[in-house]
Amino acid sequence: MRYSAFRLFLEGLQGQSGWKPVWRDAAPQASYDYVIVGGGGHGLATAHYLAKVYKKARIAVLEKGWIGGGNVGRNTTIIRSNYLLDGNEPLYEFSLKLWEGLEQDLNYNAMVSQRGILNLCHSDVQRDAYRRRGNAMILNGADAELLDQDQVREMAPFLDFENARFPIKGGLLQRRGGTVRHDAVAWGYARSADSHGVDIIQNCEVTGFRIENGAIRGLETGRGYIGTKKIGVAVAGSSSRVMAMAGLRLPIESHVLQAFVSEGLKPLIPGVITFGAGHFYISQSDKGGLVFGGDIDGYNSYAQRGNLPVVVDVLEGGMALMPMIGRARLLRMWGGIMDMSMDGSPVIDRTPIDGLYFNGGWCYGGFKATPASGYAFAHLLATDMPHETATQLRLDRFRTGALIDEKGAGAQPNLH
């Protein structure tokens, strides 16, 4: 069923009785040509592009829980492409371009809102670094503007410009950045994939891989054995657990990242604003809640909840940036599990096992990358070649030394 204003009008006349579930509750078949493990944003996007762009058929997406119940529902919904390094920026910029056409592509309202992202700088040195970053972005086809203090003041007069320790000197603005309704991304991709014949199989946990002579033959699941020669794993947060079933160790640690939402307020914050002196970022949802977050807790965790010291640290960052948020009440907070990779950048690549492909290591960057990650992973699955925007996101870069370390922090996942 295509969605349109006319359809809405028609259903209004018919008492809204014609709407149907947007994807089938598929039961697993005995075999598929392609199996995507993980029904999150990345897995569903992969299935969508594999079916729609690469014209493949007999595709299944296996999800342990339910669609939209993982990290695609546990993020802060920000989209941007303000990366520095050539290994990353083309993929994120490709992703932003896909976001811009996403709703038309999916025929689904994902509430893509390009309200801009502003990274504040607090020293001359930081301004120089932002100028360099902005130029790197522009060289990769993205947009970037360096703002001085007056321009920032005009956009966001409520910031604490005269903070004694961290005065605001200016900022790097990407106007095409913004926010997207995260659940709608999962639902839109699921609906589109389903309409292209993809079987979305929920409550179907993978319990093992069948590998013969170094090649994939199929996988064991909670709902029986499924034969297939190509498996794409997109389960960031749990990558190590799933890939361990294939005997692989990954350059990844799992860490918990907390996020917060305040009570609903009137429109207050234009776009996304990030504090440059600590780790704090904030935006306002369409319902009015302030959505914000900061650093990961910093120790291995699969608990989906963090601890109080990081809560305090995040709120202190918020108070330093905009003291007015001290008057807002915190409504809820939660934790999501990140694949923190050894250089802070993701992996979309083949593995040493024939027919087993891996997509993970997204650190904080997973949500914004959803469309391009799916596109590039579908390209890899369909053609066995890396997509042109993902040529450096290799699993063996830790062996060859071609790391993509935006922060220059080294092999210390909790510092990325």
Binding site: S238, S240, A244, L250, P251, E253, Y302, Q412, N414
Partner: protein, 95 residues
């Protein structure tokens, strides 16, 4: 989280810096034939289990000792704490 320091008693985890998997104690032999592979695995690859995890914490805001903490990473419950030097000696290192 409260880490029960073997010498100082219960301490807030905020006093510590986290390094990672305690397997970092088992530094490979640089003279071995397989040193290149060994160091790649040592530096970059992790088991990253969802369950009991032995990990290194440094008491930076305290007595500056290294500890090996055994913690369930699905619940954050700490089940065992010992000095990293004791742990390392048990694994055949001289310090």
């Amino acid at each position: 989280m409260i880490i029960n320091h073997p010498l100082l008693g219960p301490r807030d985890s905020q006093e510590f810096v986290y390094l990672g998997d305690a397997s970092l104690i088992d530094r490979p032999n640089a003279m071995a034939e397989t040193a290149l592979d060994d160091f790649h695995d040592y530096l970059y690859l992790r088991d990253n289990p969802a369950g009991s995890h032995k990990e290194l914490w440094f008491h930076e805001q305290g007595d500056r000792s290294w500890l090996v903490v055994t913690r369930d990473v699905t619940t954050h419950e700490i089940t065992d704490v010992e000095l990293a030097s004791d742990y390392a000696k048990r694994r055949g290192r001289d310090r």
